[in-house]
Assembly symmetry: C5
């Protein structure tokens, strides 16, 4: 039994980029109002359709948030079908005139991920019971079928639509690998149990807070990115505080920087940037 592989199955969906920008107000305010409108109009032309979403299921989507505090002024969250598409978008944004006023502060690269602890344990055990050796051709084939089936069943969660809530909270996190408490040496069954309990907390708060989890091992400096969406920001605090007492978080979670923003519709950009909504160039 101890020879079952320790790696839980995961399925991956949309490629995801968070971009944190400082807005160069000082330079912006020196621009005349007519020029400002042109800049915003050009940005709106690119971002407007992205807000609505493109692609088969409108899941190639981007959203804008006004960040609180010094970590940035604007947060752009992008979901796409590949890293290459994200890279093209980055370049496209950099060529807009509004980029003259955006100074990149940080970013986060990940792919939407669903961890399949329950299916994993069941599948590994069943394959073992059938005497199929891990990593054999037959085993690989069976695993591919399981993940493919899940990918289809979970398509809507793998390629999520960005929730319409007023507030976002984003942070990256790791599972600790300390000397006596190392997530990656905990037996699978124990990890499954801990993740299950952890999931229950999220479900208790699901009315108030929607979550999108993305994986970033190999993509960025933490192992996962967490996006929370809510209309009441205190709900973020309650959820995360409650989770901190979970065994898996209390003992094994390490957290990066927290970003909190207020959703800005693309149509509200002129107002955010100090332009009255009435007039419009062209």
């Amino acid at each position: 039994m101890s020879s079952l592989p320790p790696v839980p199955l995961t399925i991956e969906g949309a490629s995801c980029l968070h971009q944190m920008f400082r807005f160069r107000w000082r330079h912006w305010l020196k621009l005349d109002c007519f020029h400002q409108r042109q800049v915003v109009a050009e940005a709106t032309k690119l971002l407007g359709p992205l807000e609505a979403g493109t692609g088969a299921a409108n899941t190639k989507q981007s959203a804008v948030y006004s960040l609180l505090g010094h970590k940035g002024d604007l947060l752009l969250v992008h979901f796409r079908d590949s890293l290459e598409e994200l890279n093209q978008l980055e370049v496209e944004l950099a060529r807009l005139e509004i980029s003259e006023f955006l100074e990149v502060q940080s970013s986060y690269l990940s792919v939407v991920e669903l961890g399949l602890y329950d299916s994993t344990v069941k599948t590994y055990q069943s394959l073992s019971d059938q005497g199929i050796a891990p990593y054999s051709a037959e085993w690989n084939q069976a695993i591919a079928e399981v993940t493919e089936r899940q990918r289809t069943a979970m398509a809507a969660r793998l390629y999520p639509v960005i929730p319409n809530n007023k507030y976002i909270c984003f942070y990256p996190m790791d599972r600790k690998r300390a000397e006596t408490q190392n997530w990656y040496t905990v037996p699978m069954a124990e990890r499954q149990r801990l993740m299950h309990e952890h999931g229950l907390v999220g479900r208790r708060h699901a009315d108030q807070v929607k979550q999108i989890i993305s994986g970033s091992i190999g993509f960025d400096d933490w192992e996962w990115g967490v996006d929370l969406f809510s209309d009441d920001p205190v709900a973020f605090k309650r959820l995360i505080y409650e989770m901190r007492f979970d065994e898996v978080s209390a003992v094994y979670a390490a957290f990066g920087t927290f970003y909190v923003g207020v959703r800005v519709r693309v149509s509200e950009l002129p107002q955010l940037l100090g332009l009255s909504a009435t007039a419009n160039p062209g």
Copy 2:
């Protein structure tokens, strides 16, 4: 008994933003005196009413401090009713001409929080004695009543008026989650005892130092923010040094950056910025 939830109840009040700015003296001193007066007048027009406080109980308030050392020149402390109001204020400040001379160095985002360890233990036990299961509808209802009652009783502390003392000391802090000493795995009764002892120290210094504690889990990179106010800055040192020998601080506290400032009334801003108080544009 071990099935009682480990999470202490908290109640939340005002949303709170600390902004640390460097003042660009070099650029300011190149401005002619007439222009300087205009800049200060515009800033005063926004900040003056905020100093007095707006809202039902004048608790939507902002205060200005002159910071010591290289971590910044000015500290603005804002209390508002929501994160959205804080975000609007940030943008409003960024559009003032004085922002041309303010370079944001840091910030801290939190909400005023009161931890209810004593009520929590009593309530959880009583609900358990009545056979009410945690997180059941009945349980949730009872908890909501307790916190609502406390919110009403503590309204003045949840939406505090900024004390008038000459000095402020602000710092963020965490409870440690180390391998053998992890606050989040300490049993509730033990945490209650430690927090009680910790509170006694604060009370012994209450004549000298006023405190506002805000929670920032999910909002910023530390778990709590602490604001101390006093007319004698050595009182900050004595209080914090005494607390460092508390079991809860000695073992479980981790501290961020300390900021110390001297209160500046909005009416004193011209003087601070090198303008004589007598003349005034317009």
Copy 3:
């Protein structure tokens, strides 16, 4: 037996420099189109032949990647025959006009390295059996012969050609030296066993992901650099996630910053920088 040296034999090949640049779009976009073409043409003239590779086996090679996120816009990966050649290249690049638009963000210096755990154990044991004392002239001679033989056999891997895959993933890493888990005090045989298991994971993913490992002890701030190449970036995540459950990674690996980029052919540079491919100066 305990007197066998604890140091595994390694063989070294190409000198390797990774350069991460931010592209100063803001300044670039202010250049007129004719001038932009000149700048790109000059860069292309240097980089084009380097992409193809020079030297006896075309292994003096450079490749360009468009990076994702804020850690940089362009990644240049260079393989050369010596550090001196790399240094000359750095200076040559700095003198190009395109450097006006490149702001160095980071870099990594290393040499391609192959660890010879299996040969080491066999050789040390055999020399010991022959009664040859470690570090004696005879011993040094025998070791030199072993490594020389391996260097010849492995020449193609020591001086690798840069794979043509669409994506690159680069990160530096260390072996931990913590108080109870210290790689450098683990007995050789145990390290050999762990590295062997670690290698099996890599081999299972070899179809999907090519690896180049370089050593940087004495050259840069981590002990090794890892380059992964694939056409499917999720393969990076799967490989590294699986490896994280390896005993050697779970317990002893520490990871630096992860960089992910999309390959850009030198002929595609004009397009990346916003120039249509049709026209060309001169």
Copy 4:
């Protein structure tokens, strides 16, 4: 006995600010010589009297040092009677024209502190023997008398004159709070013993090195600041190296950044900044 408070008594004196500046040579050298003289003359007019010292005992004093290495070019050390005075001085300096050429790199805020381990143990025990409860009115009164008496006796050390030595060494430090080695949970008697031994080392080097210890709990990011003064900088190394083998330093000390400077008399500023000493404007 275990109910004696664990907090050692301290007495505080002068408020102390260290300011580390980079000198913008590039801009300075573009200034014409006549203008340079004006700038230095204005700075000298402020700093000259501060070097001599003002206030009742000439202890409101400032000194200038030329720093070694990239951490800064100039170090200003200020002793004043309050944080407010230090803050006013900061603003006054910022308004000088020389500030155009000074870029603040770092700073340290503290108050001169004397720890009274011996008096504390004696006093706490004596009050306990008299049956006086800790923190009772009577107890507070007795403690106030002890500290007041010490403050008077130690006035010269609490408000020190800056030694005239050629070299300064400044660094901040903490007492560790690690999982098994936590200064703040060590019994008072043991801390007293360790601090006594630590003091003996300092005394053995007193001929060569003068010390000023300041406390910064609540003021800055470390717990103490240490200023050493000597005519032989190798004496700094010998003293600190010997102390590192002290039990209290070996086990409990954590050190911040070290700054080393050469004393510059205000009258030598023109020479340091490249002006011949002979001519002078006005």
Copy 5:
């Protein structure tokens, strides 16, 4: 025996400053060629004699290296007779016109140091056998004689000539003070043994790599600086990798940033900076 002092004797020689600069190519390339030559000529006039060495034994010396990677473009290594001389040199360099193109990135301040573990153990024991109490006048006198004798014998190593090798590798390091593994609480005899073994590794590589060790306790942020010189940079890697398996390094060493450079003769500066060697102004 346990009362023997735990501090090993050291002797100190030349004061040593490493300066890491970024070269502002972008600004340099805008200078006309005639002006470039003037700038280089002025720098050469100062640096030329320093390269040859001044002072009684030509040990007041400076060397220039072209650094690899983003940590800097130029490394200047200076040996002088005192910190004050180093400080004067820093100011002298800052006043050169070439400093307009040099941006200081980092630096390291230290004094050449030889640790005398063997003499220390012998001397302490012998003084103890004679019944001479540590730190008594007689003891101090005896110690002074020992160190004076060693200083004379080791003069050439304390005031070293900079080796002529093509490559330099510089890094700072500490001895760890962790909870269970603390160098400063290891008994002297054990430290002596470990340092002896450590020295053997260095000696095995002495043909390939020359070392200069400098002490920086009290001078900079790490305890020691290590300079390695070789014509084959892979020799740096081999030496440091082998040392990493030493008990003293494996368990007690902590390493800072590594800098690797290629020696540039002052006469080669014009070429490095893009000037043909043939012409020369004046």
